[in-house]
Each structure stands twice: as structure tokens, then as C-alpha cells.
Amino acid sequence: MARSGGKNNVLPGFTPALGYTIFYLSLIVLIPLSALFFKTATLSWDGFVAAVTAPRVLASYRVTFGASLAAAVINAFFGVLVAWVLVRYRFTGKKLIDALVDLPFALPTAVAGITLASIYSQNGWLGRYLEPHGIKVAFTPLGIAVAMVFIGLPFVVRTVQPVLEELDQEIEEAASCLGANRWQTFRRVLLPTMLPAILTGFALAFARAVGEYGSIIFIAGNMPMVSEITPLLIITKLEQYDYAGATAIATVMLVVSFLMLLCINLLQKWSRRFAE
């Protein structure tokens, strides 16, 4: 039923729709990405390995993927909390907060980066209170994670929110009639139902964080080996006219991101095994 463009299908236009989809995806996604691989292929294998395993490059992978993962985990947790509050409670200013959630989507990333950097810097609004406790945010890997949390928040909120809204109140009532307390109801009934959406949000936030550039370079400090992210490294290589080196690193990022997203998708499929 899913395929077949034959005469028996009630939905018309299968063939042109599929044709357009493939054409569009090729134009927008596949062609640029394959160009990336072709450019990388101008390097010899040894040259490729040397370019992508240089110590400074390896350190940047750790920073980028580590901070992205941390940010996505934080976003998964607090995003669910925000979605929960927005769906479950009524309070004044709820519409306003709801709109605020989308701001990181709309704000130019550079603006976000500069703002975060000035707030968390040594004499910034927040930085000046954190500094005496020995917590340095701006110009450290922690700052990178903060920027990533900022830009990734909407993803989890916006994927979990509709699922929460659709949750039937009767499900919770059934659980409490059966003797489950609030925590058991949340843990055993609500959370598993939300899990696929949380994983989707997590994956999106993670992917966004891995690819983020604009907001991070302002707050990261960009110290090689410590707080330098891979996208910045790519830019640096480009500025040195090392195009093949830049695309080599980009290829690695692409492959790693793809594999991680694939894993998350498989995990998500498993978490949705009940929905036939």
C-alpha cells in the first residue's frame, strides 16, 4: 500500500511526487555533500589520515561532540520540564513564555554568542557572581556547552509538547486507580509514552549543536586543544587555502554525525515498538 503508483492508488501523483522528492533532495543535500567527498578524495589516504588525526583536530572532536552530547542531555531534561510546565499548568504570561521558547530559533547566532559571552564574562551580569566560586563559563568548554544548550532548547520543547498535549488524562487516572503514586505514574506511564518524542528532540538538538558555529566562536575563547570546535578548525583551514584538509575534517564530522543520528533513530524506533 505504501508504494505503488498504479491505478489502484486513491492518492494521485505518486510518480511526480517521488520524482520531485528525489530531485530536490539531490539538489539540496546529495550534490553538495558528494562534492565534499570528491574534494576530500584529492587527498591520498595517508594524507587524509594525517589531516583528520592531528592532535589539534582530535581535541576539537572531543570538544565538539562532548559538548554537543552534554548540551543535548541537558536540553532533553530541561526541555521536558519546560514542555511539562507549558502543557500542564495555567499561569499568567504562559503565552509569552511559550513564544520565548522559539527565540533561539530566530535570533542570529552571532547575537546569541556575543550576548552569552558578555553575560558570562568575568564582569558580566552572571559571570561576576560565578567567578568568585571558581566557575569560569565564558572562553571555556563550559561556555561552548552553554551556547549549545541555548540554541538547542526549542527542539526538545517543540517535539515533546504536542505529545504531552495529546496524552489522555484517563491514562493517569487509570494508573492512580491501580494504586500507582505520582512518581510511579510519571516514571512507568508518562515517560515511556514521551520517550520517542524526547529522543527526537535530543537528536535534533544534538545535530544542531554539532553543526553550530556562529554563537560558539564568540563565547568559546577558541584556544587550540582546549576550547576549539571542529567547525572553527575547518574555517581556519579554509583561510589557509587548505581546502582538501578542511573537507577531510568535514567528512569525518559528517560520517560521525550520521552514525550517531542513525543510532538515535534506531533507539527511537525501538522506543516506539508499541505503536503499530
Binding site: G179, A180, R188
Partner: protein, 356 residues
């Protein structure tokens, strides 16, 4: 466990859902709360369960005050119209849920839970579907799982909110007979809400008819059906025809009919309405009997085992409905347009303070 409901009132905003309702449900009985939507029956059920708090009044379980008890402590099994199964759990895990959330001290062991769930699966005849998810079951199967899940914790009271409302007609019929047999086996005090009079009449030991947040009448199914206490009950249970007229010192005059109406002996020339069920009207060709009205056959319709006849009264704008059995219809061989005589076999007259 017996349930005593004492003077329960509940309002939602400006809407009075329950108005000083009192009711006793004896231990082990299967009671139906019957009424149209908005009559307060579901609110009453939810208050018994503890899902809703009453504005005033008390709920007693076995004579003990339970109004302030939490849902979790009430030991009620609740079955929802739309099943409310946990869709991420298998049938087995759904049924086991109530057992697995018990506090560690009183939680049964794994093997014990498995035995119990298997027993319940046997009871609902779904042993081979234990590993399915709710999405893979039919409506009737889902509702049986929901029932088994509610029974797993051995509730003191079983509450069912329109349990068969979302099912198709044949499954509904099967399932309510099954529920009746099940209740005869386990005898747990049960209250179920329905707007389907046939369902209530067939399943319940006792019927409580509700309207506008009050109890109109309660009694056994035959009491309620044969002796409706109020015009509302008459109207709600079964097809009914209305005759306008007057009643004076125990005699009613209804559109050309003279009837004795002993229950209205004290009425003095009061406007009254006569209620006759559609199967309590005989159709005859001769005007032999004084208690018959002349009418014209307007419409004939076969509905399963019955033949529905619409009769136009001589005043030209009112019709009455008559249900004939197939045999009667075949004996009479009615044709549309024919003049016949309709004779109510049984009419109940209420002084007119009620309008439909």
C-alpha cells in the same frame, strides 16, 4: 463492600452536576446508573472512585468514611469508556501494572504476579495475546484487558464508565452478557454507568435512573420498567406515546378515551399527560371497545422482529407509534391509508407538571 452515598452535591462552574444525591449500593450488587448525558451519572462514579471531590456530602465504604481517601487508597477498579490502556506495555504488563506498583513490602513475587496475570488472561479468554500491544487488539479485546487490569488488584469496588460505549453493537451485546456472567462468578460490588436503557435492563441487579443531577427512580429492572415513578423515567425507558388530556378525581380523559386513573384521585380537572409504550397499543379493525381511538395508518416499517406502525390521529397533525409483532402484523395485513382503531392496553397518567 457496600457503598453509601450521602447527600453528594457537585457543581462545575455554574453547572450543577449532582444535586444532593443519596444512594446505597449493597455489597455484591451490580448497579447501573442510567441517564442521558449531562445527568450526573459519570460525575457520581468519579466521585465514588475519588477522581473527583464532591462539594458536599459523604461517601462511605462499608460504613467507613472514605470521602477524604486518596484514589490510590480506595481500592477501586475503574474501567474507562476508551479503555485507557497503557499503550507502551504489552497486554501482560498492562494487567500486571497494579501489582507491580504496590509498595515493596506487600508486592507479590514475580512468579506470583505471573500466575495471577495468567489466571486473569484465562478469565478474559485472551491467553494467546499476552505479548501483544493494545494497538494490535480489537476494541472488545481492549476493554476485556482493561477489565482484567482493574480486577488484578482485587478491588473492593468495580466502577465502569460506559464500558461498552465505544464498541459496535454485536460486540457490545456479547461483552455485556459476559460481564453479567463474570459478576455472577466474582460478586464484586459493581457500579456501571450507561445511557443505554437496554444495557442497564439486561445487565444490572438494580437500576438507578438519573436526570439533571438527581435520582429519578431506583429499583430492579422490572420495577423500573413496569412501574416508572416519573414521566421522565417513562420517557427514557423505551418508546413512548404521549396523549394530552385532563384528569378529574381519578378519571382521565385523553383524546376521546376515558380511563380510570386511581393514582390521580385527588386531582381536580387538572391538565394531564398519558404515557403509553408503543408495544402497549393494540390495533383493531372494529371500534368495539370504548377505549379506542380512530386513526389512519401512515407508515409501516419492519424493524427486525417488530413492525413499526405510524398512526395519524383524527386531529390531523399528531402521530403515534405502535410496535406490532410480526404475527400480529401478518394477521392484520395493514395497508397505508387504512382507517383502524388504536387501543392502549396500558396507560399511565401524570398530572401535567412535566414537559418534554
Amino acid at each position: 463492600m457496600s457503598i453509601d452515598i450521602e447527600g453528594i452535591s457537585k457543581t462545575f462552574g455554574g453547572f450543577t452536576a449532582l444535586d444532593n444525591v443519596s444512594l446505597k449500593v449493597p455489597s455484591g450488587e451490580l448497579v447501573a446508573l442510567l441517564g442521558p448525558s449531562g445527568s450526573g451519572k459519570t460525575s457520581l462514579l468519579r466521585i465514588i472512585a475519588g477522581l473527583e471531590a464532591p462539594d458536599s456530602g459523604r461517601i462511605l465504604f462499608d460504613g467507613e468514611e472514605a470521602t477524604k481517601r486518596q484514589v490510590q487508597e480506595r481500592q477501586v477498579g475503574f474501567v474507562f469508556q476508551h479503555y485507557a490502556l497503557f499503550r507502551h506495555m504489552t497486554v501482560f504488563d498492562n494487567i500486571a501494572f497494579g501489582l507491580t506498583v504496590k509498595p515493596k513490602k506487600i508486592r507479590p513475587g514475580k512468579q506470583e504476579i505471573r500466575d495471577k496475570v495468567n489466571k486473569l488472561l484465562h478469565l478474559i479468554q485472551l491467553e494467546n495475546l499476552a505479548d501483544r500491544y493494545p494497538a494490535q487488539l480489537s476494541g472488545g479485546q481492549r476493554q476485556r484487558v482493561a477489565l482484567a487490569r482493574a480486577l488484578a488488584v482485587e478491588p473492593q469496588v468495580l466502577l465502569l464508565d460506559e464500558p461498552f460505549g465505544a464498541l459496535d453493537a454485536k460486540v457490545r451485546l456479547e461483552l455485556r452478557r459476559w460481564l453479567r456472567r463474570l459478576h455472577d462468578e466474582i460478586h464484586v460490588t459493581s457500579v456501571f454507568v450507561t445511557h443505554d436503557q437496554e444495557e442497564a435492563l439486561e445487565v444490572a441487579d438494580r437500576i438507578v435512573v438519573m436526570n439533571n443531577g438527581r435520582i429519578e427512580q431506583q429499583g430492579t429492572p422490572s420495577e423500573v420498567y413496569d412501574h416508572p415513578a416519573t414521566p421522565f423515567v417513562y420517557d427514557f425507558l423505551g418508546n413512548v406515546n404521549l396523549f394530552q388530556g385532563r384528569v378529574h378525581e381519578g378519571t382521565a380523559q385523553m383524546g376521546g378515551l376515558n380511563l380510570s386513573s386511581p393514582e390521580n384521585a385527588s386531582a381536580h380537572d387538572a391538565p394531564a399527560v398519558g404515557y403509553v409504550r408503543s408495544h402497549d397499543i393494540a390495533i383493531e379493525r372494529q371500534a368495539g371497545d370504548p377505549g379506542a381511538i380512530k386513526a389512519e395508518v401512515r407508515y409501516l416499517l419492519s424493524v427486525g422482529p417488530l413492525v413499526r406502525v405510524d398512526l395519524l390521529l383524527p386531529d390531523g397533525n399528531r402521530t403515534i407509534e405502535v410496535d406490532l409483532t410480526r404475527e400480529e402484523a401478518e394477521r392484520l395485513q395493514l395497508t397505508i391509508g387504512e382507517q383502524v382503531f388504536a387501543r392502549p392496553r396500558k396507560m399511565r397518567v401524570f398530572v401535567d407538571d412535566y414537559q418534554i
